[in-house]
């Protein structure tokens, strides 16, 4: 890393923070987030939280099949989107799909994926919360956990060979659970060996469904794992959007300028259930959740903006109302669209339909229809 602040961060113990408890930024850190970017971050985080809340509600009403929210973890995806350049590639895990929204992917298309119908660019092929968009260089993740990380490294290796201008980087995301997977190790190892222009970001949200981080690793921190792969490891307060922005901007600049990979552990907390299929009351205490609620990344950013005279109740209320209205309006328009065509089931398996798929497609189309869910 090329900045003093990050290089002095001891990944074994230290947690890099910018936002202090009183809402002010540490004056000793040049965090580089302008007021305009801070306001944009606030808007994006607010809108993402409203979107997640609405989608969970729709799932409870039976209108959406499944959903995985990023509630409490908005700082990393939003700061990532703000710190990345247009030409960069994103390989998210479950909780970072919204990076694409910050990078210009239309909210209507994002919501369309949740409904898996004619509004879904992915043609209803994947359940909700499995977003991808080629226009914004974002690839979809795998719930097997981890496969996207070596893919991010591979894309970065290709970028290093292609040497296109402006210089490109790739970012790969994972959670604390993924650090137990062979793909994580392979990705870190290849990134280090080939000095790939990649940043691997682990959102340590303390829980992999029901298993706490202490049962994933005996390591004192996750960031320290970077040392074994010959790259810098940074441990950052993942609920501090200024700190995340600072760390990522430095790491991205390092990768972009040929300095090689960085591993970032963002310490955060999954405020909600793992997905709509999970019940966290079975494995964690209310008091733990309440303690983390006090460190909410949106509340912390709001206090910072208030202290700078950039936010107040009236503006905040309007911002949330506008975001909710936009979301509800899109849902109303998108929800009733038609399901993908029957024949589309067979498209995109291969570039062209082989004989067996031609036969099966004809049989399906001429056969009886299945009952509805």
């Amino acid at each position: 890393m090329d900045t003093a602040v990050v290089s002095e961060t001891d990944p074994d113990v230290m947690l890099f923070r910018v936002l202090r408890d009183d809402g002010t930024a540490d004056p000793g850190v040049d965090h580089g987030m302008t007021d305009a970017v801070a306001l944009r971050a606030y808007f994006e985080m607010r809108r993402l939280r409203a979107l997640d809340a609405r989608m969970i509600l729709l799932q409870r009403q039976g209108r959406v099949g499944f959903y995985g929210a990023a509630t409490g973890q908005e700082a990393v995806p939003i700061a990532s989107g703000l710190a990345l350049a247009k030409q960069d590639w994103v390989f998210p895990a479950l909780r970072e799909q919204s990076v694409m929204l910050v990078r210009g992917y239309p909210l209507r298309d994002y919501i369309g994926q949740v409904f898996g119908n004619a509004a879904d660019n992915l043609k209803g092929r994947q359940p909700p919360s499995h977003q991808a968009g080629k226009a914004v260089h974002q690839v979809s993740w795998s719930p097997v956990i981890g496969p996207q990380i070596p893919q991010a490294v591979g894309a970065a290796m290709a970028m290093r060979m292609a040497k296109r201008r402006p210089h490109e980087i790739a970012v790969g995301y994972c959670g604390d659970g993924a650090t137990s997977q062979p793909d994580f190790h392979a990705a870190m190892n290849f990134a280090g060996v080939f000095k790939a222009p990649v940043v691997i970001i682990c959102q340590n949200n303390h829980w992999s469904i029901s298993v706490p981080t202490a049962k994933q690793t005996a390591s004192r921190t996750i960031a320290i794992k970077a040392r074994a792969y010959g790259m810098p490891g940074v441990r950052v307060d993942g609920n501090d959007v200024l700190a995340v922005y600072k760390v990522l901007r430095d790491a991205f600049a390092c990768a972009r300028s040929g300095g090689g990979p960085t591993f970032v552990e963002a310490v955060t907390y999954r405020m909600g259930a793992h997905t709509t299929s999970d019940d966290p009351k079975l494995y964690r205490s209310d008091s733990e959740v309440e303690a983390w609620a006090k460190k909410d990344p949106i509340d912390r950013l709001r206090r910072y903006l208030e202290a700078r005279g950039l936010m107040d109740d009236a503006r905040d209320t309007k911002l949330e109302a506008d975001a909710s209205a936009e979301i509800v309006s899109i849902i109303r328009e998108v929800e009733e669209l038609a399901a993908p065509s029957l024949a589309s089931m067979f498209d995109d398996v291969y570039a062209e339909l082989p004989w067996n798929l031609r036969e099966q497609k004809a049989a399906l189309e001429s056969g009886p229809r299945a009952p509805k869910h």
Partner: protein, 324 residues
């Protein structure tokens, strides 16, 4: 036209395509300076350098995972898995990522890579150097699977595989890597994917084989001919999508089928072939289709010649079905 063995023909194909298409690169364990443990990539490192002939860490999951990332970006990686037996650490990357990339992204992304890997037994390799896992990948929607039996096809099929828009598993029968020799044209040509070859025409029994077992089928056919049974030997070449028209045409002619493969019998590709023949040519059958395959055991070391479906086991099956 120079005579080559399989190793030379595959090397020639790689070199040809890497000269022609700067997106093509080779990666894998020991593929660089040493040219691969079977020397298939020999000389490529010297010609194309370390960016296009990449000696990777010892990690099949890492090889295929990073190759997919490169392919998403626009390169055409041709990773080598040193032995097909070593492919399982990369299984998730192949079946859930590589094979599904176009489908799960609604056609936005495609991941075009050709995985080369030596398959099969008969080289005193034991369990970890002899398996034939083709059925696992034929079963996986989104993959194509190729297995040449001779140098001409090896070069032509590999060039076709690299230029094909879909991901391909290219299995190389290591037992005949150097034993199978033949004339290989210099320069450019392809052998179309999805087309079988009638290696030996005949009218009594259809014998379906591929890879190293093709030679065992031909040897059995020679013996059968001495006893008045004329075999039609089909070399599938592309295992998936299989050339169903060629199979049905042959079975309509002979009414009798023997399928040969090294992999264990149960749920091997032979099971699918027999099912397809039953579906599409049942009324033309004069005898139950027979499979001559590896046994449903792990691949044994000391007894590998007994395990393999060699000519001595194919011949009685051919005669039995001819006389059914």
């Amino acid at each position: 036209m120079p005579e080559m063995n399989m190793v030379g023909a595959i090397n020639d194909a790689l070199r040809h395509e890497m000269r022609k298409d700067p997106r093509v690169l080779v990666m894998g364990e020991d593929v660089g300076k040493v040219g691969g443990v079977f020397r298939v990539t020999q000389g490529l490192f010297e010609e194309f350098g370390e960016d296009r002939v990449i000696d990777t860490p010892l990690s099949e999951g890492g090889i295929i995972g990073t190759a997919i990332g490169m392919a998403l970006y626009g390169l055409v990686p041709v990773p080598e898995i040193q032995f097909a037996d070593f492919i399982y650490p990369a299984f998730d990357q192949i079946v859930s990522e590589l094979a599904k990339m176009r489908y799960r992204s609604g056609g936005e992304y495609a991941s075009k890579i050709v995985i080369r890997s030596p398959v099969g037994g008969g080289i005193r390799g034991g369990h970890y150097h002899s398996q034939s896992p083709e059925a696992l990948f034929i079963h996986t929607a989104g993959l194509k699977v190729v297995c040449p039996s001779n140098p001409y096809d090896a070069k032509g099929l590999l060039l076709a595989s690299i230029r094909d828009p879909d991901p391909v598993l290219f299995f190389e029968p290591k037992r005949v890597y150097r034993a199978a020799k033949g004339d290989v044209p210099e320069g450019d040509y392809t052998v179309e994917l999805g087309k079988a070859a009638v290696t030996r025409p005949g009218k009594h029994v259809t014998v379906i084989a591929w890879g190293a077992m093709l030679y065992e089928a031909l040897a059995a056919a020679d013996e059968a001919a001495k006893q008045g049974v004329e075999c039609e030997v089909l070399d599938l070449r592309t295992l998936w999508p299989v050339d169903i028209d060629a199979i049905v045409a042959s079975v309509k002619k002979t009414g009798r089928v023997v399928v040969v493969h090294e992999a264990p019998k149960t749920c091997g590709f032979g099971a699918e072939l027999v099912a397809l023949i039953n579906e599409k040519a049942f009324v033309h059958l004069e005898a139950p289709p027979i499979r001559v395959a590896g046994f449903d055991t792990p691949f044994p070391y000391s007894l590998e010649m007994e395990y393999l479906p060699l000519a001595h086991r194919i011949l009685p099956a051919v005669l039995d079905t001819a006389r059914f």
